[in-house]
């Protein structure tokens, strides 16, 4: 029976959820020290156009698949099989950019986890 039909659900989470404490940050006043004290160590650090960037992120993967088949190869050459699967990786992300003096110059927030798995999978891609 397992050779004929199977269904799987896989979930994977990497990293911690970013705390909402970044909401108190203000461009032009919040310092690098304050950000590190509040949010802890970032997941990524980089230099971008002369500014220092800290990225805090959590990735959430959801995968599900359905397969159906009739194995007839031993008794009748061709077999029949059908399979469908979907995979979605969503990111919750906080991007903080600091001047060389350590003052917050830009903050970008992405909350990918607000998009539900099935609704996102079946929604049409907009260009």
């Amino acid at each position: 029976m397992t050779g004929c039909i199977s269904y799987r659900v896989i979930k994977a989470v990497e990293g911690r959820s970013v705390p909402n404490t970044y909401e108190e940050f203000r461009v032009g006043t919040t310092t690098l020290q304050k950000a590190l004290q509040t949010l802890g160590a970032p997941d990524q650090v980089a230099e971008l156009e002369g500014k220092d960037v800290l990225i805090y992120q959590q990735s959430l993967l959801a995968n599900s698949g359905l397969s159906f088949g009739i194995p007839l190869t031993d008794i009748w050459g061709p077999g029949f099989s059908f399979s469908a699967y979907g995979e979605l990786v969503r990111y919750d992300l906080v991007f903080l950019s600091f001047t060389p003096d350590g003052i917050l110059s830009e903050i970008v927030i992405e909350k990918g986890s607000r998009y539900p798995y099935l609704k996102t999978m079946f929604s049409e891609v907009k260009e």
Binding site: M1, S6, Y7, R8, I10, A12, R16, L32, L36, A46
Partner: protein, 140 residues
Amino acid sequence: MYESSCFHRGKGDITLKRLREPLCILLLVFFLQSCAGWVKNTDYHPFDAAKLDKLTVGKSTVVQVTEMLGAPSTIVKLSNGNAYIYRRSLSKGTGLWLLIVSFGNYEKRYDQVVIFFDKKNIMTHYGVTLDAHKAAYELP
């Protein structure tokens, strides 16, 4: 007096008796075919809190930090110096196979220390996140 149709001795009762054996066999096959598994990475070792307490902003140097914590996982060049990133991860995974349906869950969490040095290799800032112990065995 009201009597539930489930307990009514009649045609339904005979049908239930007929179905009992195939249902038991089906349940037995279902559980005999089932399997569960757990995985965990074995190379994780936590940071020494006593060593982290010795980090002093404005005093600790690159040499002292690397003597204390060892080689960093990554070094990133920044506008005013460098960042040394120390990262350790703990992953836990769970799998459950029930005949035709299977479930899997994987969780990876990190302990991270990021230390910022100026161009003179003196520590200017640092951030610590100790989150690896929160990785858990779960099902989706």
